[in-house]
């Protein structure tokens, strides 16, 4: 017996503990959603009440009206889609080359790829800004997409996935006359579906939630992404209309939470294998 908990009492105690921690972890989200449906004056009431007397769904319509958060949600969606498609394409190609093809300098190049993961983003932030100035990409969504479609993480993830499929399948296809590119897209790619799903999940999380880089490079309200829109909303209404700030937060947090509910496995696996979402 390897178990730490042996008696039913210990197990019950553990369950109670897990439940309390779970409540503590999930409570802020309940608070956020419940408060987003309140009158502003009810949020600042002492002692506080969790649920609104009468849910005020109109807060959502109002927040979409008073700040361009609808446009900003759309901007985030465009950026997320662009980065995700980019990650899938570049990582598939590069991952396959590293996994299956032989070329001079392969191992050295792969080490260099991994080395990029060690450099903190703050080291790149000032020069990146200046590069964007030179490219005239400042305050444009392209600055949030193109620089981020090359990823050493994705290459690493897809390389592992391609290495795990039996070589014989690809060799059979090549004997049948399929070229290298044909083999990649017709034989190998369909077999790495789970890795692609994991990568897409990570790209989605990473770009939807990104904040530091947009903060530096985007300044027009109509071009900002939703995380920036939230900070503006907070600056505008923190003193007077908390319900609108929390309705905005709910709108910004909901997409990743819903996606997580639907595809929990890929989120947990993706994060556990790469450590990316820790940022």
């Amino acid at each position: 017996m390897s178990r730490i908990l042996r008696t039913p009492f210990e197990k019950a105690l553990a369950m109670v503990l897990l439940l309390i921690v779970g409540l503590f972890i999930i409570f802020p989200f309940i608070y956020m959603f419940a408060s987003s449906l309140k009158e502003s004056s009810d949020i600042v009431k002492v002692p506080p009440e969790l649920f609104p007397a009468a849910p005020k769904w109109n807060n959502y319509a109002e927040v979409l009206e008073v700040v361009p958060i609808g446009t900003q949600l759309l901007n985030s969606a465009i950026v997320t889609l662009g980065v995700t498609v980019g990650w899938l394409l570049t990582s598939t190609l590069a991952g396959y080359a590293f996994a299956r093809l032989e070329f001079p300098g392969r191992d050295l190049l792969f080490s260099a790829f991994l080395g990029t993961l060690m450099v903190p983003f703050v080291v790149l932030i000032v020069p990146m800004y200046r590069i964007m100035v030179e490219l005239s990409w400042v305050d444009k969504l392209v600055a949030l997409i193109v620089p981020w479609v090359s990823t050493a993480y994705g290459t690493f993830l897809l390389r592992q996935a391609f290495m795990n499929i039996p070589k014989e399948l690809e060799e059979a296809a090549q004997i049948d006359g399929a070229g290298r590119w044909g083999t990649l897209f017709k034989v190998a790619l369909p077999l790495v579906g789970p890795a692609l799903a994991t990568l897409a999940t990570l790209a989605f999380l990473y770009s939807w939630n990104s904040f530091t880089w947009p903060l530096i490079i985007i300044s027009s309200p109509g071009t900002k992404v939703v995380t920036q829109g939230l900070m503006d909303l907070q600056a505008l209404y923190a003193g007077t209309r908390l319900n609108l700030v929390l309705a905005g937060s709910t709108l910004a947090v909901a997409p990743t939470l819903l996606a997580y509910l639907l595809a929990q496995r890929y989120f947990i696996e993706g994060v556990a294998t790469t450590g990316l979402a820790g940022r």
Binding site: M1, S2, R3, I4, L5, K11, A14, V21, G22, I25, P28, F29, Y31, P47, P48, L50, T90, S91, L93, A94, A97, L101, E102, F103, R106, T116, V119, P120, V122, V123, L124, I125, V126, P127, Y129, R130, I131, S150, A152, R180, L184, N209, F211, T212, L215, T227, M231, Q234, A235, A238, L246, V253, T256, Y260, F267, I268, V271, G275, G278, R279
Partner: protein
């Protein structure tokens, strides 16, 4: 090289081209450029001059940099304890055969996927002195215990604000660390425990002499990645504490190195200085990580 090999290399580099090009233009070049900027007095606009190591000398004597470094180190050390220890505890409990294990794992992971800015804003209200739920809970607890507790000025007192950053960061990352530690626990082979049980080991002996050493590589991974993330922390202190007068929290009490760098580079337009600050931070991260690796062979069990 034969024609076939040449053809293969050509295909390989064609496949690598998009990634290589991206990493050259948006990684390798800015990396080198950053080093160049750090020895100039580059500002947002206008000409730049070579200033040698002045920026680095300035950083080492800059009281604001010292403040930011102190905050960052204190934050990181505290977060290692406040995030990793509960994560380990939860992982051990979830590794037991309890009902609803997957449900709890799923719940604990929710903050990991949520937008940092979104959750930081709602924590601003939860931690509000007057109407926040956290102080409400503290006052109610005080009543139960028969004393009068006023509540804690979480975000408004410069001695306490950093604690709030630690709490929110830990709340956000416990689930992540827990998932990694749990997968580490699940990969420890069962026969080890069976052998220990036959030898009459108590459960605590088994935990100390099997679980802890077998888990140590995973624990080490969690400690290293958490520390690296902590030392670079930007968005939580920014979203919790940034003010219109460009301070981070009351009296800069939430100023971390990354926030300091952002302020110097993009608010004060000192881009050369900000680049030097970035390299100093990079060096500090490298040194701390190196020390962690050196110390690891004393306690991490590599098979």
């Amino acid at each position: 090289m034969t024609a076939r090999k040449r053809r293969e290399a050509f295909d390989a580099f064609s496949m690598l081209a998009p990634t290589l090009l991206g990493l050259l233009v948006f990684f390798a070049f800015p990396l080198a450029y950053s080093l160049v900027l750090s020895v100039t007095d580059t500002r947002l606009f206008g000409d730049a001059n070579f200033v040698g190591l002045d920026n680095y000398v300035k950083a080492l004597g800059d009281p604001t940099f010292h403040r930011a470094l102190g905050n960052t180190l204190l934050f990181s050390a505290a977060t290692l304890v406040v995030s990793v220890v509960p994560a380990l505890f939860l992982a051990v409990l979830l590794n037991e055969k309890l009902p609803a294990q997957a449900f709890f794992r799923g719940i604990y992971f929710v903050p990991v996927v949520a937008s940092v800015v979104g959750v930081s804003l709602l924590w601003r209200y939860l931690l509000n002195f007057d109407f926040g739920f956290i102080n409400y809970g503290i006052r109610e607890l005080g009543k139960v215990l028969g004393t009068k507790w006023e509540g804690v000025p979480w975000l408004t007192n410069s001695n306490i604000a950093l604690i709030s950053v630690i709490l929110v960061f830990s709340w956000k990352t416990i689930g992540y660390n827990m998932v990694i530690l749990l997968s580490g626990l699940q990969s420890i082979s069962k026969p080890l425990y069976e052998a220990a049980a036959i030898d009459g080991a108590s459960r605590w002996q088994a935990f100390r002499s099997i679980t802890m050493p077998m888990l140590s590589p995973t624990t080490f991974f969690v400690l290293v990645t958490t520390l690296i993330n902590c030392l670079q922390v930007f968005d939580i202190p920014y979203a919790l504490g940034w003010t219109r007068s460009s301070t981070a929290g009351p009296a800069d009490s939430m100023l971390t190195n990354s926030v300091h760098l952002y302020r110097e580079g993009f608010i004060n337009s000192q881009m050369g200085y900000a680049s030097a600050l970035a390299w100093v931070l990079f060096a500090i991260i490298m040194i701390i990580t190196f020390v962690q690796f050196r110390m690891s062979n004393r306690w991490v069990n590599y098979e």
